[in-house]
C-alpha cells in the first residue's frame, strides 16, 4: 500500500524532474536558471530519498541529504553570490532562440527515449523510463552548454548533466558503493569551486564572462 504511494511519488517527481530541466533550459533570466537548478536538484533529492525507502537501501539517505545540502542550497548560493560580485547582466544570451531550442530539446528527449528506451536488459526494478530520463537530462545539459554564451551558464549545464548521472545511478543501481558516492560528490563540489575560480579569472582577464571572447587560440 505504502510502497504504491512511494512509487507513484517517484514517478511524479521524475516527470517534474524532466519538466524542470526544460524550464531550466528555456528560462531567460540567470537567477531563475539557478533557482530552477535548485528545484531540479531538490526533485533529485526527493527521488533518491523515496528510492531509499522504496527498496530499503538506506545508505542512499546519506546521498539524498548530501544532494539536498550541496545542490539545492550551497551551490546555488555560491552562484548567487558570484553573480552579485561579478555584477553581470542578468539575462541569458543564447545562440538560438527559445522556441527553436525547445524544439531541439524535445527532439533530444525523443532520441534518448528511442536510443535506450526499449533495450531489453534495461528494465530496472523500479521503472525503465528513468534511464531515458537521465539520458535526456544529460543531453539537455550538453545542449545548454553548447548554446549558451556565458561561462556561468555552461557550468550550470555541467551541473545539469551531473544531476542526470546521479538520477541514473540512484534509480538503476540504487547508488554506487558509498566510497564512490562520496568521491563523486567531492569531485562535483571541487569542480564547481575551481570553475568558479576560473570564472573570476576570466572576468579579470577578459572583462565580462562571455565565452565568445575566449577564441584567441585556434588552428
Amino acid at each position: 500500500m505504502e510502497q504504491e504511494w512511494i512509487l507513484s511519488i517517484i514517478h511524479l517527481t521524475s516527470m517534474a524532474f524532466l519538466v524542470t530541466s526544460f524550464a531550466l533550459l528555456v528560462s531567460p533570466q540567470l537567477f531563475s536558471c539557478i533557482r530552477f537548478y535548485a528545484i531540479h536538484s531538490f526533485f533529485l533529492a526527493v527521488i533518491t530519498l523515496s528510492t531509499a525507502f522504496y527498496n530499503h537501501v538506506y545508505h542512499l539517505i546519506i546521498s539524498a541529504v548530501l544532494t539536498l545540502v550541496l545542490k539545492t542550497i550551497v551551490i546555488p548560493q555560491i552562484f548567487f553570490r558570484m553573480i552579485r560580485r561579478l555584477g553581470m547582466r542578468k539575462e541569458v544570451e543564447t545562440y538560438i532562440n527559445i522556441p527553436l531550442s525547445l524544439l531541439f530539446s524535445t527532439l533530444l528527449v525523443f532520441i534518448s527515449f528511442y536510443g535506450v528506451g526499449n533495450m531489453k536488459a534495461l528494465d530496472p526494478p523500479l521503472s525503465k523510463e528513468f534511464v531515458s530520463i537521465s539520458v535526456s537530462t544529460l543531453f539537455l545539459g550538453m545542449f545548454m552548454m553548447t548554446t549558451r554564451k556565458k561561462a556561468l551558464t555552461q557550468v550550470l549545464g555541467l551541473l545539469l548533466i551531473e544531476n542526470g548521472l546521479f538520477l541514473m545511478g540512484v534509480t538503476t543501481t540504487f547508488g554506487m558503493p558509498l566510497l564512490v558516492e562520496i568521491g563523486i560528490f567531492f569531485d562535483v563540489l571541487v569542480g564547481a569551486i575551481i570553475m568558479g575560480v576560473f570564472v573570476f579569472k576570466i572576468r579579470g582577464a577578459f572583462e565580462g564572462i562571455d565565452v565568445d571572447k575566449l577564441t584567441m587560440l585556434k588552428g
Binding site: 535506450v116 533495450m119 531489453k120 536488459a121 534495461l122 530496472p124 537521465s134 539520458v135 544529460l138 550538453m142 552548454m145 561561462a151 555552461q154 555541467l158 548533466i161 551531473e162 542526470g164 548521472l165 541514473m168 545511478g169 538503476t172 543501481t173 554506487m176 558503493p177 566510497l179 564512490v180 568521491g183 563523486i184 567531492f186 569531485d187 571541487v190 569542480g191 575551481i194 570553475m195 576560473f198 579569472k201 576570466i202 579579470g204 582577464a205 577578459f206 565565452v211 575566449l214 577564441t215 584567441m216 587560440l217 588552428g219
Partner: protein, 489 residues
C-alpha cells in the same frame, strides 16, 4: 603496504613543498620527491616483476603488468619533467617567478602525479573515475601557471570539455555497474572491481556493455585527446609551461587510454564481438586524419607537437583496436615510446621558447648554426616522432601496422600509412625550416646544465629504445599485452 607508499610519496613531498619557506627548499622537495618516487617505483616493479597482480585495500587497488608499465611511465616522465622544471621555472634574475606561484606549482604537480598514479593503480572503476577527474582538476592550475589571457582560456576549455567528457564516462561506469547487478553477480560491495568483472565478464549483458563502452569511449576519449574530442588538447598543451606540457601529453593522455583499455577488455569479452575494436580503430584513424592537416599547416611549434600527440594517441588506439599480440604489444610500446619522445620534444621546445621568445615557427631559424646541441636534438627528435628508424617510434608503429595486417584490416593500414607520409612531410618541412639554414641575429641563451642534461638523457633513451628493449620491460610489455588480449593469467 607498498602501493600505499607509492601513492603517499607525492602527497608528502607536495605537502612539504607547500610548507617550505624558501625557494631553495621548494625546489629541493620538488626534485627529491619525484626522484624518490621514480626510484621506488622502478625498484618495486622490477623486484616483484609484476607478473601477478598485487591487490590492496580490499582489492580497491591493484597493480598488474599493465598498470605497472603506466606507473613506470608516470614516475619516470615525472622525474624528467621535474628535473627540467627545476632548471626551467626556478631560474633567478629578471624573469624569476614569485615563490608563491612556485609553491602552488609544485603542490599541484605532485597532486597531479598522485592522481595519475591512483588512476592507473585503482582496481575499482569508480575510484579510477574519481582519480581521472582529479587529474583534470589538478592539472587545470598547472596549465595556467602564469595568469595570461591565453593560458586562462586554454585552462577553461580544458576544464569544461574534460569535465563533460568525464561525466559521460561516469554514465558508462554506472551502466557497467548496472549490468553487473543485472547479471546478478551476487555480492554488492565490489561489483565495480575490474578484476572481478573480468572474471564474470561473460555474464555481463552485451547490449548494455556496448552502450557503456560508447559512453566510456567518448568520455575518456575526450581526456585521451582522440578526435573529434581532442579540441581542448592543442590549447592546453601549447599554453602550459613546457615541463607540464611534457607531462600532459606524455603521460596524462596515456592514462586515459589506459582507462579505455580496461573497459575495452571487458566489452570485448562480454559482447564476444569486435564491436569495441572497430570503434577504437575508427577513432584512432580519425584522430590521425584530423591531426594531419594541422601538422601540415601550422604556425606554432608547441601546437605542432600537441597535434602530433593527437596523432600518436590515435595510433595507439588503432593498435589496441587491431588487437592480436603484435597490435597490442605495438600499441603499449608506442605509448611508452611516445611518452619519452614527446616529452623530449616539449623540453626542447622549452629551450626554444626561452631562446627565441616566440612560439612561432617562422620565428625560429638556423637553429643548427646558433646552437648545434639543441638544434641537433630537436631535429633528431622530430625525425623520431615522425617515425623514422633508428628511433623507437618506428618500431612500435611498424608493429602496430603489422598487427593491422595480421588482423586483415588492410584498408585501415593503407590509410594510416598514407596519413603518416603526409604528417612526416609536414614535420620535415617545419624541422628543416627551423633548424637548417642560417640566421642573422644571435638569440639570447644562457646555459643550464641541468636542462641540457635532461635533453641529452632523453635523446639517448629515444635512440636506445630504437634497437634494444631491456628484458624486464620486454617481459612486462608481453604480459601486459596478454592481459589486454584477455588471456586471464
Amino acid at each position: 603496504m607498498t602501493l600505499v607508499h607509492l601513492l603517499s610519496i607525492p602527497l608528502v613531498s607536495g605537502f612539504l613543498a607547500v610548507i617550505s619557506p624558501t625557494k631553495k627548499l621548494v625546489r629541493l622537495f620538488f626534485v627529491l620527491g619525484t626522484l624518490i618516487l621514480a626510484g621506488y617505483s622502478w625498484y618495486f616493479v622490477f623486484r616483484t616483476g609484476a607478473q601477478t597482480p598485487i591487490f590492496m585495500f580490499g582489492e580497491n587497488l591493484m597493480m598488474d603488468a599493465l598498470a605497472a608499465i603506466f606507473v613506470l611511465l608516470i614516475t619516470t616522465v615525472g622525474l624528467l619533467s621535474s628535473l627540467y622544471a627545476a632548471g626551467y621555472l626556478f631560474k633567478d634574475g629578471d624573469l624569476a617567478i614569485p615563490v608563491i606561484k612556485l609553491r602552488r606549482y609544485v603542490f599541484f604537480f605532485h597532486l597531479f602525479l598522485f592522481t595519475m598514479l591512483l588512476a592507473v593503480l585503482s582496481n575499482n572503476l569508480g575510484i579510477m573515475w574519481i582519480a581521472i577527474e582529479g587529474t583534470t582538476l589538478a592539472s587545470a592550475f598547472l596549465v595556467n601557471v602564469d595568469d595570461k589571457k591565453s593560458s586562462i582560456e586554454a585552462a577553461w576549455k580544458y576544464l569544461i570539455l574534460c569535465t563533460v567528457g568525464i561525466a559521460l564516462a561516469l554514465f558508462g561506469i554506472i551502466l557497467v555497474y548496472y549490468s553487473a547487478i543485472a547479471g546478478a553477480l551476487g555480492e554488492q560491495e565490489n561489483l565495480l572491481h575490474w578484476s572481478l568483472l573480468l572474471k564474470k565478464a561473460k555474464a555481463l549483458d552485451p547490449q548494455v556493455m556496448k552502450l557503456a563502452f560508447i559512453f566510456v569511449l567518448v568520455g575518456y576519449g575526450t581526456k585521451a585527446g582522440l578526435a573529434p574530442f581532442h579540441s581542448w588538447l592543442p590549447d592546453a598543451h601549447s599554453q602550459a609551461p613546457s615541463p607540464v606540457s611534457a607531462l600532459l601529453s606524455g603521460v596524462l593522455l596515456s592514462c586515459s587510454v589506459f582507462g579505455i583499455v580496461r573497459f575495452h577488455i571487458l566489452t570485448r569479452i562480454a559482447t564476444g564481438s569486435g564491436f569495441s575494436n572497430g570503434l577504437l580503430v575508427f577513432f584512432g584513424i580519425l584522430s590521425v586524419a584530423v591531426a594531419c592537416p594541422f601538422i601540415l599547416v601550422q604556425a606554432d611549434y608547441k601546437r605542432l607537437l600537441a597535434y602530433s600527440s593527437v596523432e600518436h594517441m590515435g595510433l595507439a588506439a588503432a593498435g589496441i583496436g587491431f588487437g592480436g599480440p603484435l597490435g597490442i604489444y605495438g600499441a603499449l610500446l608506442h605509448i611508452v615510446n611516445h611518452a619519452f619522445t614527446k616529452s623530449l620534444l616539449f623540453f626542447s621546445s622549452g629551450h626554444l621558447l626561452h631562446q627565441f621568445q616566440t612560439k612561432e615557427i617562422k620565428g625560429v631559424r638556423g637553429l643548427l648554426k646558433t646552437n648545434p646541441f639543441l638544434g641537433g636534438i630537436f631535429f633528431l627528435g622530430i625525425l623520431a616522432i615522425s617515425g623514422l628508424p633508428p628511433f623507437s617510434i618506428f618500431v612500435s608503429e611498424f608493429s602496430i601496422l603489422s598487427g593491422g595486417f595480421a588482423a586483415k584490416r588492410f584498408m585501415a593500414c593503407a590509410v594510416l600509412l598514407f596519413l603518416l607520409i603526409l604528417i612526416f612531410a609536414g614535420f620535415l618541412r617545419h624541422a628543416s625550416n627551423m633548424t637548417l639554414g642560417t640566421r642573422e641575429q644571435e638569440p639570447r641563451s644562457e646555459k643550464s646544465l641541468l636542462m641540457d642534461s635532461v635533453l641529452g638523457l632523453g635523446i639517448v633513451l629515444v635512440f636506445v629504445m630504437g634497437f634494444y628493449i631491456p628484458a624486464p620491460l620486454q617481459s612486462l610489455l608481453e604480459s601486459a599485452s596478454r592481459i589486454v588480449q584477455g588471456v586471464v593469467s
